[in-house]
């Protein structure tokens, strides 16, 4: 039998994490329980983070938003601050799993699972999200891009938990685009996805671009080359084709049960062509 701790505040959490062997933290369980069942993971003990008020909710802070790690996807989708200030994240959340999965799964779980197919990750990379890591005695921050070190791997220390993620949206971006390729609309693990933020001037010139792809590399893929190819240009087919070619070079996809590497490479570029729909009229 595994012990399962259900701390109701941070003090109880720290006490649970000090036990030997240290219990493995989880929150919504939408990933962990699947792996427990298959035997892929078998920790001696677990600690569930769902009841800790300090890890939940959304608030305005330092000009941006702080999102508690234990906030469910459904709460975020309903949150007026998220809807108004992080439409890119909201779009990605609306494609994540299914309603019951969104009622259970949390943004912190999506980050710590560190799957290349995690749906919240491309938007959080494009938005330059920063994680807040806490232990009983320490609190540190780092860019999400540094926190995720490989598929399923993060810089989290054993005594730490992910407390939240901080995002400071740049209100000057006027194109917020997310698209996920999957086999169906619900419960689809992403084959490839693109999160894009653009600032397009009233005369149609692209002044700034942030692009991040999911499921086409060991972690989320960003491409300065593809972003550069857009700057100072217009959202025409030729410009996007050029950026798409660079994107196809930047990604490093694999073959798996969902799609071939070649398909993923092709579609990583093609996803950019959709940005034409955001041309100013």
């Amino acid at each position: 039998m595994k012990e399962v701790f259900l701390p109701g505040n941070l003090e109880e959490l720290w006490r649970a994490l000090e036990r030997e062997p240290a219990p493995r933290p989880y929150c919504g369980g939408t990933d962990l329980l699947v792996h427990l069942r298959s035997g892929k993971t078998d920790p001696d003990a677990l600690v569930c983070l769902e009841r800790i008020p300090e890890l939940s909710g959304v608030r305005e802070e330092e000009g941006g938003l702080w999102i508690g790690a234990a906030t469910t996807h459904a709460r975020l989708l309903d949150d007026p601050l998220v809807r108004a200030r992080l439409p890119l994240l909201a779009r990605a959340l609306s494609t994540l799993g299914s309603p019951p999965v969104r009622n259970m799964g949390t943004i912190g779980g999506n980050i710590c699972t560190a799957s290349p197919a995690g749906d919240t990750l491309p938007p959080l990379y494009a938005l330059d999200g920063e994680v807040e890591l806490r232990s009983r005695d320490s609190s540190r921050r780092m860019p999400l891009r540094r926190f995720i070190t490989g598929p399923g791997e993060t810089a989290l220390r054993p005594d730490e938990i992910l407390a939240g993620v901080r995002v400071t949206p740049d209100g000057t971006y006027n194109v917020h685009h997310f698209e996920k390729i999957g086999i169906r609309r619900a419960m689809a693990c992403s084959i490839a996805s693109l999160a894009a933020l653009l600032r397009v001037s009233s005369s149609g010139e692209i002044e700034a671009a942030r692009l991040a792809w999911g499921s086409v590399g060991p972690t989320v893929v960003v491409s300065g080359e593809a972003e550069q190819a857009l700057l100072g240009k217009r959202l025409t087919r030729d410009v996007l084709e050029d950026a798409a070619e660079r994107a196809r070079k930047a990604v490093s996809p694999i073959d798996d049960v969902r799609a071939s590497a070649a398909y993923r490479r092709e579609v990583s570029g093609n996803l950019l062509l959709r940005l034409m729909e955001h041309r100013p009229l």
């Binding site: 259900l6 919504g28 939408t30 569930c48 459904a74 299914s98 019951p100 259970m104 419960m187």
Partner: protein, 159 residues
């Protein structure tokens, strides 16, 4: 450990291992076999339980997480001896074939109708998108939720 919660409107306690899945506790210890296990991995929605009014999956929740929560299974949705309006609509519309997905579908539909009294078909499809019907009888299920919604206002007034 002893876990206390509300189950279908009544106080309940169970003395069990904290690492058992909710679907197993409800089926085996409480005999609530309306909570079905289809896939065991969160893909099919057959094990749906309302937790504090929200559809969640009994196969992805551990027993300890029931502590202090309000759980409603299909067995507790309707008033004693009667049917929930959505269950009536399922019967009328022929929305039940083999029945395996029905508890999850009805619970998901009832949660949607609580959130939104008159959802459109697209919203209904979205609300049941985490539920697989192996008989593929989706149209009738959407019809049933729509039918119950159309009647919703009047029913509530007479209650």
């Amino acid at each position: 450990m002893i876990i206390g919660f509300t189950l279908n409107g009544k106080k309940a306690t169970v003395d069990t291992r904290p690492d058992r899945r909710v679907v197993d506790v409800l089926r085996e210890d409480f005999g609530l076999t309306g909570v079905k296990e289809g896939c065991g991995t969160g893909e099919c929605g057959a094990c749906t339980v309302l937790v504090d009014g929200e559809p969640r999956l009994g196969c992805l929740m551990l027993a300890v997480q029931m502590e202090g929560r309000d759980l409603v299974t299909i067995e507790g949705l309707a008033p004693e001896g009667g049917l929930h309006p959505l269950q009536e609509a399922f019967l009328e519309c022929g929305a039940v074939q083999c029945g395996f997905c029905t508890p999850g579908m009805v619970l998901a539909g009832s949660a949607l109708l609580k959130r939104k009294a008159s959802p459109g078909r697209a919203e209904i499809r979205e609300a049941i998108s985490g539920h697989l019907c192996r008989c593929t009888g989706y149209q009738k299920i959407v019809d049933a939720v729509e039918t119950a919604a159309a009647r919703g206002g009047k029913k509530e007034e007479t209650e």
